[in-house]
Amino acid sequence: MKTDIILCGVGGQGILSIATIIGEAAMNENLYIKQAEVHGMSQRGGDVQSNLRISSNPIASDLIPKGGADVIISMEPMEALRYLPYLNKEGWVITSNAPFVNIPNYPGMEDIKAELAKLPHVVAIDIEQLAKENQVPRSANVILLGAAQKALGIDYDKLEAAIRRVFARKGDAVVDANVKALAIGREQQG
């Protein structure tokens, strides 16, 4: 198998913890992994992205070539659109539909929704709202991961097991909240 994933959002939204869970699941399956991250200046409220590649064969480049990504997982709807040139034509976009507005020229939300609706495969959900309604307020990003499960091509049980390992040292309450969040996300895939 081979899946190329772009994770994106705004600095501070927690895209790297999604990457950690996917990486943990992939590592446990003895898959090859490359994950290029952005650290430094852009983490201060700017756009951030991470290229995550998992494969059963060795991976050469740390960066995903244009048109090569199978999935974009975005914590923010305009940021999901930013990386479309990297998505293959049958690729999936899994995104939060809650805008993070910290620039004066942020486009109209209706326009963004229309743009997203044009894509062949898209799941756009209000992860913050779902997280609040289900009493897992800190696990919105894991809801997004759950919604991406099929597109990632990783078994649900393996993602859940990875969550248990990644969050184990934070205690049962945190593990349970994130396992619940993953299940909520799965329901959103349709």
């Binding site: 290029a36 650290h39 983490q43 201060r44 740390d62 960066l63 995903i64 479309l84 620039i103 963004i112």
Partner: protein
Amino acid sequence: MNKKLLLGDEAVALGALHAGLSGVYAYPGTPSTEITEFIQMHPLAKKRKVHSRWCTNEKTAMEAALGMSFMGKRALVCMKHVGMNVCADPFVNSAMTGVNGGVIVLVADDPSMHSSQDEQDSRFYGKFAMIPTFEPSSQQEAYDMMEAAFDYSEQQCLPVLMRVTTRMAHSRAVVEVKDEARPENEMNYNATAANWVLLPANARRRNDKVTAQQAQLEEDAEKSKYNLPPSQPLQGEGKTPLGIIASGIAYNYVMEVLNTSPWEGLEKVAILKISQYPLPKKLVRQLLESCEKVMVAEEGQPFIEEQVRGVFESQNILGRLTGELPRTGELTPDCVAAALSALGVTSPLATREGLGVSPLVAARPPQLCQGCGHRDVYTALNDVLKEYENPRVFGDIGCYTLGFLPPYKAIHSCVDMGASITMAKGAADAGQWPAVAIIGDSTFTHSGMTGLLDAVNEKANITVIISDNLTTAMTGGQDSAGTNKFEAICLGLGVESEHLHVVVPLPKNMPEITRIIREEINYNGVSVIIPQRECIQTFKRHAKERKQQK
């Protein structure tokens, strides 16, 4: 052996620890910071009491590492590329002294300037200083090279320069690591003073020795297991149509393209991978002689390409200088695919298109955090400076450089660590008033203190704002060398106590802060104002830690 998912920086750090490291010396700088942080947190480093506290700047770091080496132990120095400029003096002279315990100078270059002010390529420093240079092309190689480079440093009695770039430093991959760490070196007194006292007579002798040693270093590079000799043409007689010299991470982009190429394309290509310098000239010549054309793919400046081209301007050596690859900026699999495609290596990567760019997408530049004290400092400063005709504000390196952007548009310069104070002084010397310097706490101790002494000694008419958030914030909140010492430092340098003020940058204190700024601009001499409030990011982190402890 066991497998770990490691950042390139972490692979370097673990490789150093497993190679018997006794001390890491570093100043934080993207993309190198995580190396020292990894060592600080690692149980083995704690158990062995490996030195890992942050240094005041790259020069103090390099010199402390030389001291540790002098006593026979293994030391690692880490920095971002521009840090090399700060430690250039001890770095270049470390080839003259040589080393006793192994020394690795790890420098993380930042092509495309993701978090930097220039795109300088540190391999030039290695050549210039006659110091052997390693450049890993994978995280595994980065881990493996650390022990090899420490051994080589001790074998050659020279430091080794290890060069990584952003996409290596900040990319994770699965790395096989050793189960056991090599013991640390015992302290010894083998360092001979005649090498380490660089009086001209000693230095001349050492210079001859190190110059003569270069042939051996090159010979070692020819045979290095990290330099893979050109693959032979797969079939037929005559020359291979295309040779590729690929170094460091560029090798991965070349392989990404070739892995997607049809087989008949690959028969036309021979590759030489380079990860150890001085440039192995025999390997290069072998490739040049067996290929019709050669393209050089390297991350950063055309370091190999210029050496291979020499002054002959051969039509058959291609790369960044001839436009096949972009002249500046980091490489990508896409630009390498386009270059190779133009040279006859077909790959779907060169023609594959993704979805179109959405016209809706707006730029989202980084900005100061909500609740950041620098915001209040700029608000106050702008409020006062609008009363003056032509104020100039000399900025510095850190989060507060973002004060250049709207809504503040508050600074007129940002050059290098510490330049705010010295540039303000030079401007004041030229007759500028008001001349204001704004500098962060960590940047001030890194390189601002000496400039402040210059200003005090000449009673320069400048106002210095040390915006103190109690941390090195831009790189993620590392300890700042001068925390709680700034008033004492300024008084010690001779700043007059009545023109030294500490304030708390909060909206409720605006009247007091603006009054002080106004008074001190109007004072003819050096004034220092220290707005002091913890970085909002470290404040949140500390609050969380306190909550968890309860």
